[in-house]
Symmetry: C2
Subunit: 113 residues, 2 copies
DNA sequence: GCGATAGTTAGCGACATGGCTAAGCATGAT
DNA sequence: ATCATGCTTAGCCATGTCGCTAACTATCGC
């Protein structure tokens, strides 16, 4: 089903980079233009641009250009699929927690040897 | 804060691959040995091994070897940091939306004058 | 011991990622 | 018109990722 969900892969991949996460956090406070985003990172503009396009392709931010200034803003609902997936997983995992518990304890015991 | 959290990067990167997510989902039902995990993926053993070690390094699964059989199991609490980060982000995002709300209200009030 | 089974290691190839510089627009200010 | 600003494009380099095969080790069953 969601085995080959491209959205999730894009999202997770976009989130896997510290720079991109920090850009996201920065954007969470207020929309910003590209140069403003580049500043704190210490990275060059083209590099930041690349990160931004990764974020945009994942649907995490949206950008628009007014004059020569591109403004970037977060897309709050973009994380919903991630959240859903997590909830889904947790549901399954917890349903099996009884068996897992015993097994994990066993592993830990073995590791302790 | 958790801006440059290496754990998060490892976790997100591990989750960014469909094969790894399907392995996780499979493992959520019951622990399994490597060959059993390889089956459904259609991938070769060394490839699956690599995915497993990525998952293990991210702390998402734990494995132990008994005789010639390596058994893999999920580590349910491993997703907690991801969940926390999501919650954190949502908190900021929502706070910003509130402020935006207030801003819009303010503008409207000013316009009404 | 022998052969089948389960996993591991080494290493290859194709491609993606993340950084950079240099050069090229397009727009805004003077 | 000119110059500075803000972004964009093209392209380079080092490294990482994901798949594979081939060969190896280690165990289990007979």
């Amino acid at each position: 089903m969601a085995k080959h969900d491209p959205d999730l892969s894009l999202l997770f991949h976009a989130l896997a980079d510290p720079t991109r996460r920090s850009i996201l956090t920065r954007l969470a406070e207020t929309p910003a233009q590209v140069t403003d985003l580049a500043g704190p990172t210490g990275l060059r503009l083209p590099t930041v641009m690349r990160h931004l396009s990764v974020l945009e392709e994942a649907g995490l931010i949206s950008t628009s250009k007014d004059g020569r200034i591109r403004t970037c803003a977060i897309v709050p609902e973009a994380l919903d699929p991630v959240r859903s997936w997590l909830d889904e997983q947790r549901a399954i995992w917890e349903a099996r927690l009884d068996r897992l518990d015993a097994f994990v304890m066993n592993v830990m015991k073995e590791r302790a040897e």
